[in-house]
């Protein structure tokens, strides 16, 4: 009950943020909401299926480049079309990648996803005419629900309609993921994570379930990647680089992969912590490295794990 109240309070706070918070802090909420969508998907793989991907920036990149390509080259500005296209392309690429990766677990799975991520990074870097190479591709302002909103100042657009659009996508993504993880499919994933041999003997197709989880998580990452694009305005290969994959794993660990909302909290804390630490000290990467080490050693359940120390470490 307390948990539900907290979630409701957080949702209400996010909803009223544009009315009470400074413009800059509202703008920071945009990458938070985009990453929250990505991390909900990543945690299906990480927290529920027990597979750590170090290549999910690949799918963020696919989402972001899909939006950039459609708006810049195809004159398609509808964000609904962009999100659907990003999700479809994410699934399309995830199918062969996932089919190969989910045959392996632990470090082998991580390394394979990293390798595919870097293949995509090299692709966007090298295919200059298609992707703009290191200079990237502009992500032009998308229309929302058929409304162009082109005349509106960009900042007003971002902290107004785009903010609430992102929030709606996040809420929808959260509800869908909640249904997924509480469905028989989600229960099977947890069984596979905890004891794959036993799951196999129970008749659960381990590889098939992992594959489905991989594709769903890729779709979430692609949708989140598409949401990341408009606030930046230009999509570039750093979005698909392995350090970006590392960042989202860090966010998941920070918030706690053992809880449904842990990664979402991780995204929020990461973004605001980065905002604060970057302005205070040039060696912010060192501080983030120390935080990561501290979490892994002292709080493997992440921030949400710290709040409920008495409960079992893995509660998904």
């Amino acid at each position: 009950m307390t948990g539900r109240l907290l979630v409701a309070a957080a949702a209400a706070a996010i909803a009223v943020a544009p009315l009470v918070a400074s413009t800059y802090h509202v703008l920071l909420m945009l990458p938070f909401m985009a990453y929250a969508v990505v991390l909900l998907g990543l945690n299906l793989l990480f927290g529920y299926a027990g597979l750590v991907s170090f290549g999910h920036a690949l799918f963020i990149g696919i989402g972001a480049y899909t939006g950039a390509f459609l708006t810049s080259h195809c004159k398609i500005r509808s964000l609904e079309v962009i999100l659907i296209a990003a999700a479809a392309l994410g699934a399309l690429v995830a199918a062969p990648v996932g089919a190969l990766c989910v045959r392996y677990v632990k470090i082998y799975f991580g390394m394979l996803t990293l390798a595919f991520g870097m293949v995509f990074h090299t692709f966007v870097l090298k295919f200059y005419r298609l992707t703009g190479g290191d200079e990237g591709t502009p992500f032009l302002r998308p229309s929302l629900l058929g409304r162009s909103l082109e005349a509106m100042p960009k900042i007003d657009y971002l902290v107004g309609p785009y903010y609430y659009y992102s929030l709606a996508v996040l809420v929808l993504a959260t509800l869908c993921m909640w249904r997924i993880v509480h469905s028989p499919f989600g229960l099977c994933l947890k069984t596979i994570r905890d004891n794959p041999a036993k799951a196999e003997t129970l008749g659960i197709g381990v590889t098939r379930y992992r594959f489905h989880a991989f594709v769903i998580s890729a779709v979430y990452a692609a949708v989140g990647g598409a949401l990341l694009g408009p606030p930046i305005g230009n999509v570039d290969p750093t979005l698909a680089y392995w350090t970006h994959s590392g960042n989202i794993v860090f966010m998941t660990l920070l918030g706690g992969f053992t809880s449904f909302f842990g990664p979402v909290v991780g995204a929020f804390v990461f973004i605001y912590l980065q905002h604060w630490v970057m302005s205070v000290v040039p060696y912010w990467r060192l501080i983030f490295g120390a935080i990561l080490a501290a979490i892994v050693i002292f709080a493997p359940g992440g921030l949400l794990g710290l709040l409920e120390p008495r409960r079992a470490a893995v509660r998904l």
């Binding site: 400074s22 413009t23 800059y24 802090h25 703008l27 920071l28 990458p31 870097l125 200059y128 703009g132 190479g133 290191d134 200079e135 990237g136 502009p138 100042p153 960009k154 900042i155 990341l228 606030p231 930046i232 305005g233 230009n234 570039d236 750093t238 979005l239 980065q274 905002h275 970057m278 302005s279 205070v280 000290v281 040039p282 912010w284 990467r285």
Partner: protein, 442 residues
């Protein structure tokens, strides 16, 4: 980080209302700002919320990590030097300068830092930006936020094409390919009889664009020249053994290299180890950015070496350059690279534009009036007179010359020094680069 030098701190202490004073809370300052707004309403071009003597905040975005960190550090040091100098002289229109420094990293994070500077820190202008990959994203953001942005070294070029031909708030660096064009002009002057050329550059837009531009220019001067090899190693590579072997194998008369960071030093060392430049001429368009690491022991005489827009040892350099080089060396124990000149010019031209827009008065002008004043403005920079073109692109001189060991340093310098203006080596506003080069009368 609020980046205050000692001199700035002292000046800030000397001017009221003080930045860190506990006597003023946010509401009081807003109240004062409101009163100032009412007073300033008498003139339409006067910014309302600026009390005289209150520090003027200038945002700075500088690379502070990775391969380009030394370049960012040089730009930041020059900006700090400028701020100390301005504050000692009484600030801008009586207001001391306060720098607010943020990191330039990837486009996404830098856009967020940029917005913080304008929306949260309320800076009057933002200085800096080096990587074109980042500044391509910053350009439209600067236009959205309606605050002047003066880029040190970043452009809004996609390849060699301008993406923002008519910006209102964005002021950009010289076109990326200018130093390659200058080198293309000087190559036939110093290396007569060149028939075959090999090229090496970093595998990203800058490397490719420099190579294309250099070829186009050299072809105009030496129509029968052949380009026999092109290599594009990844930025950050430290082993060029195989590349050097391929260059030797090509038996080219000349090697053109557009490396600008530590890789220029590394390839020079590795080339020296196999005596590459005993049989081949060399053109290093941009290696002057790491000039004091090009030690005499491995950097031969007779190479064409580019210093971009500032040559620290320019025999014709003015007293400002000499003072800067002396103080920079004393403080940082190295000789300043060209990024210092870009940074100094940006800051100095901003100051001059504010003073011009104030029309001799002491009232702080509107941002739009400052932008108007910047267009076409010429000021004294470290390298001499520099200006802003009407389409917000820097105009300046480029320095290149032939490496020599005849100096008192342990690294090479250049003699003679060639000075080529952007009026000659940069495409005019609105022109297509290769059409423009092909249209030259030679």
């Amino acid at each position: 980080m609020r980046h205050l030098s000692q001199a700035t701190r002292e000046l800030l202490r000397a001017h009221g209302p003080r930045y860190n004073s506990p006597r003023y809370d946010r509401r009081q300052i807003l109240g004062l700002a409101g009163a100032a707004a009412a007073a300033a309403a008498l003139r339409f071009d006067v910014a309302p919320a600026q009390a005289q003597g209150e520090p003027v905040k200038l945002g700075v975005v500088a690379i502070r990590a990775g391969i380009a960190a030394p370049v960012g550090a040089a730009g930041l040091r020059a900006t700090e030097w400028w701020a100390e100098r301005v504050n000692k002289a009484g600030g801008i229109l009586g207001r001391p300068v306060q720098l607010v420094v943020e990191e330039e990293s990837n486009p996404k994070d830098t856009v967020e830092r940029y917005r913080k500077l304008v929306l949260q820190d309320k800076v009057e202008a933002v200085l800096g930006g080096i990587s074109t990959g980042v500044t391509l994203a910053l350009g439209p953001v600067a236009e959205d936020l309606a605050t002047p942005w003066l880029s040190w070294d970043g452009t809004t070029q996609k390849g060699v094409e301008e993406t923002m031909p008519n910006p209102k708030w964005a002021f950009k660096s010289v076109d990326n390919e200018v130093e390659a064009i200058v080198a293309g002009i000087l190559t036939p002057k110093y290396f007569k009889g060149i028939k075959t050329v090999a090229g090496i550059g970093n595998d990203y837009s800058y490397g490719h664009d420099c190579w294309q531009s250099y070829q186009a220019v050299l072809k105009r001067y030496v129509p029968d020249v052949k380009f026999v090899l092109e290599l594009f190693p990844k930025l950050g590579v430290t082993d060029f053994t195989s590349h050097i072997a391929a260059i030797q194998q090509s038996k080219a008369d000349l090697l053109m290299c557009s490396f600008w960071s530590g890789d220029a030093t590394i390839i020079m060392k590795q080339a020296a180890a196999v005596g590459l430049f005993k049989t081949m001429k060399g053109v290093f368009t941009t290696a002057g950015g790491v000039h004091d690491s090009l030690k005499k022991e491995f950097t031969p005489e007779g190479l064409l070496l580019g210093y971009n827009t500032m040559y620290f040892d320019d025999p014709k350099g003015g007293p400002l350059l000499k003072q800067f080089v002396r103080e920079y060396k004393a403080k940082h124990n190295e000789y300043p690279p060209y990024e210092c000149d870009h940074a100094f010019f940006n800051a100095e031209s901003y100051k001059a534009a504010v003073e011009k827009a104030a029309r001799g008065g002491r009232q702080w002008p509107e941002k739009a009036a400052v932008v108007k004043a910047l267009e076409g403005l010429e000021v004294e920079s470290l390298s001499g007179r520099r200006s802003w073109r009407e389409d917000h692109v820097q105009m300046c001189n480029f320095y290149q010359g032939i490496t020599t060991h005849k100096n008192s340093y342990d690294f090479v310098t250049i003699s003679p020094v060639e000075v080529v203006s952007t009026k000659q080596a940069m495409k005019p506003a609105g022109a297509k680069l290769f059409d423009w080069i092909n249209g030259w009368k030679i």
